[in-house]
């Protein structure tokens, strides 16, 4: 592999995974915090709150996964190599 392409791929992978996790990380922290707050206020609705949180986290974390896919493909199956 061309050293320039290799270096650019590693840099792109690092930037890709780093930037793509910022938004989901903030959103997941916010959602989990609010859910725990909600459970503390209404313990009788614990199951419903946890269920909604599970659905929200599953969709939020997929944004991280998209970035992760790009980074891993650049590192292990680079189409420009």
């Amino acid at each position: 592999m061309d050293p320039l392409v290799a270096a650019a791929s590693v840099l792109a992978a690092a930037l890709g995974i780093g930037i793509s996790t910022i938004g989901p990380a903030l959103a997941q922290g916010n959602a989990a915090g609010k859910a725990v707050e909600g459970i503390a206020r209404q313990p009788e609705a614990e199951g419903k709150i946890r269920g909604t949180l599970l659905l929200c986290l599953a969709f939020m974390e997929s944004l991280t996964i998209y970035g992760l896919v790009i980074a891993l493909v650049l590192l292990f199956a680079n189409p420009f190599a």
């Binding site: 459970i39 009788e44 599970l54 599953a58 997929s62 996964i65 992760l68 891993l72």
Partner: protein
């Protein structure tokens, strides 16, 4: 405003967090709804993966279909780990982490290094759990599950 000492009354989730797999039929209260949701999501993802395996084998090849199935099963494992994390959130024994992403990272690394597997079917198979979530939510919106009596 009256303050209640909730530490003296540990929640049902914290009691059940130590158990491996609670029996839904014996549970009552709000956490039963959560375990039902978790089981429903896993089942709907499994059914969708099973339904798509045949057409993929017929349309493409067994290699593509097996890659898809591997991705779908990994997605279900990921969903179960995520559900376990959500279950333990805010309990006395918090072990919240990002272990579920390790499943995906390992899967993609194996897919890219082992030439018998294809990356794209594995990735699309992994996303089957999202289709399962959408199908389950639409299904339960149209036909709400009946709550067990007694």
């Amino acid at each position: 405003m009256e303050l209640i000492d909730i530490s003296a009354q540990p929640s049902l989730a914290s009691k059940q967090a130590n158990q491996a797999e609670p029996d839904i039929s014996q549970l009552s209260g709000s956490m039963a709804e959560y375990y039902r949701l978790k089981q429903g999501l896993v089942m709907s993802s499994l059914v969708i993966a099973g339904l798509l395996f045949g057409p993929l084998w017929w349309s493409y090849s067994l290699k593509v279909a097996l890659s898809y199935l591997l991705g779908a099963l990994s997605g279900i494992v990921y969903l179960r780990l995520l559900a376990k994390n959500v279950e333990q959130l805010g309990t006395e024994n918090p072990q919240v982490g990002k272990n579920q992403l390790g499943v995906f990272i390992g899967l993609i690394i194996v897919a890219t290094q082992w030439h018998q597997l294809s990356v794209l079917p594995i990735f699309l198979g992994f996303l089957t759990y999202k289709v399962g979530i959408i199908v389950y939510v639409v299904w339960t919106t149209i036909l709400p599950p009946s709550t067990p009596q007694g």
